[in-house]
């Protein structure tokens, strides 16, 4: 399954993501610069902030419990499509997902 990450400067990277893998892990494993994931997905740091592409926002679902608290402290602007990418897990319906990355994570 594929996911496209679009960096703040417009650079696009498409990567293969296995089912169950989080978008944060997938991005970090593939060295996508715009995602840090400092706490390893423990919902403790807000350095994996991303914007789900408008066309996909309905499928990825709403923010999980605790996510808004962390996003409050994100380094970049928080929008209605903001998510912590560690909280979005790959599943078949998300094949082709497009994720935009913020200007800064910390």
């Amino acid at each position: 399954m594929k996911v496209k990450f679009i960096a703040h400067d417009g650079a696009e990277t498409e990567i293969e993501v296995a089912e169950g893998e989080s978008m944060m892990r997938a991005a970090v494993l593939n060295n996508i610069d715009g995602v840090i994931g400092e706490c390893g997905g423990s919902m403790m740091c807000a350095t994996c902030h991303c914007y789900v592409d408008d066309a996909w926002a309905g499928l990825t679902g709403s923010q999980n419990e605790g996510e808004p608290d962390l996003l409050d402290c994100a380094a970049s602007e928080v929008k209605s499509t903001s998510r912590l990418s560690c909280q979005i897990k790959m599943r078949p319906e998300l094949d082709g997902l497009v994720i935009h990355l913020p200007e800064a994570q910390r």
Partner: protein
């Protein structure tokens, strides 16, 4: 600069290699690690890994990352000597490799107290994935665990073992838990938590020996006061020692860790050091921190110094975390000079402890409250009176400050 060699492939060493490429370093990078396989995250070993046993989920980067980024990973290899004059290091297979700049990310090793029986079967420690695999299978067979050392690792393990139904005794030499890392008030909150989970926690209890049976298997721990505690799985979690030997033998300065300056350079400007192994200046004192945050932030700073000519001194705010059962403890800041401690009572009941020095916030300890932790990271140095006027609601203070600065702007 053509060739950078990194000794140590833990999270700091790996981040060093990745950050060099992110800063567009175009020369060659060699990453040398003692453990075989891909670099992995250690924090989950005492947490999620104990539950799910999924080692593959711990990899920090995929194998293809090293090829694509042209990083030579020499795994399962140990550096045995540094020849600073020739700018070469010797490996345990007899090879030598040259460097223009060398980065020491050799980390720390577990400290095992020199007590009788410490090498008995059933005595374990936890640092590597191999340790974690052994420990995990031992939990399944054990009938009673004794944890020597009530710090992060010991308590994280105790919580996991209790969850799997194993009886646990924690033996701590100090008068309180996690004494190096948290305030007395937070130690008390965690003591109650662990006792409520059913762990038998003994404070002021110094382990004198591991008791063994005739076949040399661990059967318990005897305390200095003569008390014997039965157990067939003994976890030694009594802290670590920095791996300074390679640097010391090469004549580099040492001060409770490899001594580095504000640019994280050792006494030899062609050699830097990062993470658990180095002691560095921070806010006027020299510290050595054992944390992912320090290792990763050091690596990023060194990459900027080497590639971009950064001249600002390292100044990242320290933060730590520990998962114990359903409690996520987070600490923002360092409270080395604290002269005041305040346990804030809140409606949610979640412990919050603020530590102050000369009337300014030095650190904040939160439980299951990442929002307040994140706010605290921006509020270190804030006056106590400002926090007090907001009833110590850190998020409200930060919000007010942000709104005020927006008005000024």
């Amino acid at each position: 600069m053509q060739r950078i060699v990194i000794i140590g492939s833990g999270q700091g060493g790996l981040q060093m290699a990745a950050s060099l490429r992110q800063e567009k370093f175009e020369g060659s990078i060699v990453l040398i690690g003692e453990e075989p396989g891909l670099p992995y995250q250690r924090p989950p070993l005492s947490k999620a890994y104990m539950e799910d046993g999924n080692g593959a989920a711990l990899a920090l980067r995929s194998g293809s990352f090293f090829e694509r980024s042209e990083i030579t990973l020499l795994d399962g290899r140990r550096a045995v000597a540094i020849d600073r004059k020739a700018q070469e290091i010797a490996l345990d297979d007899g090879r030598r490799t040259s460097y223009d700049h060398l980065i020491l990310a050799t980390g720390a090793r577990n400290f095992l107290p020199p007590i009788p029986g410490i090498t008995a079967r059933g005595v374990m420690s936890l640092r590597t994935l191999t340790d974690a695999e052994r420990l995990r299978s031992a939990i399944a067979r054990a009938s009673h665990a004794v944890v020597v050392g009530g710090g992060f690792i010991g308590l994280e393990f105790a919580a996991m073992a209790r969850k799997s139904g194993l009886p646990v005794t924690v033996v701590e030499a100090a008068e309180r838990l996690m004494a190096r890392a948290v305030s007395p008030a937070m130690s008390r909150a965690f003591l109650e938590k662990h006792r409520a989970m059913g762990s038998n926690v003994r404070l002021n209890a110094l382990a004198g020996a591991v008791l063994t049976d005739v076949e040399g298997r661990a059967r318990g721990v005897s305390l200095a006061d003569g008390t014997a505690i039965a157990g067939d799985l003994i976890l030694i979690a009594t802290g670590v020692r920095p791996n300074v030997e390679l640097a010391a033998e090469a004549g580099l300065e040492n001060a409770n860790g490899i001594a580095v300056d504000g640019l994280l350079r050792t006494s030899d400007p062609a050699v830097s050091a990062l993470g658990d192994v180095c002691s560095f200046p921070l806010g006027g004192v020299r510290v050595r921190l054992e944390s992912v945050q320090a290792a990763v932030d050091h690596a990023r700073h060194i990459a900027k110094v080497l590639v971009k000519g950064e001249t600002a001194h390292y100044n990242a705010l320290p933060w730590f975390w520990s998962d114990q059962a359903d409690w996520k403890l987070q600490i923002a800041g360092l409270a080395l000079d604290a002269d005041e401690e305040l346990a804030v009572s809140r409606e949610s009941g979640a412990p919050l402890v603020l530590r102050f020095g000369a009337g300014r916030l030095l650190s904040a300890e939160t439980v299951n409250d990442a929002g307040s932790h994140m706010a605290a990271r921006n509020l270190i140095g804030t006056s106590k009176s400002l926090l007090e006027s907001n009833n110590y609601n850190l998020r409200a203070v930060l919000k007010a400050l942000k709104e005020a600065s927006a008005v000024v702007a």
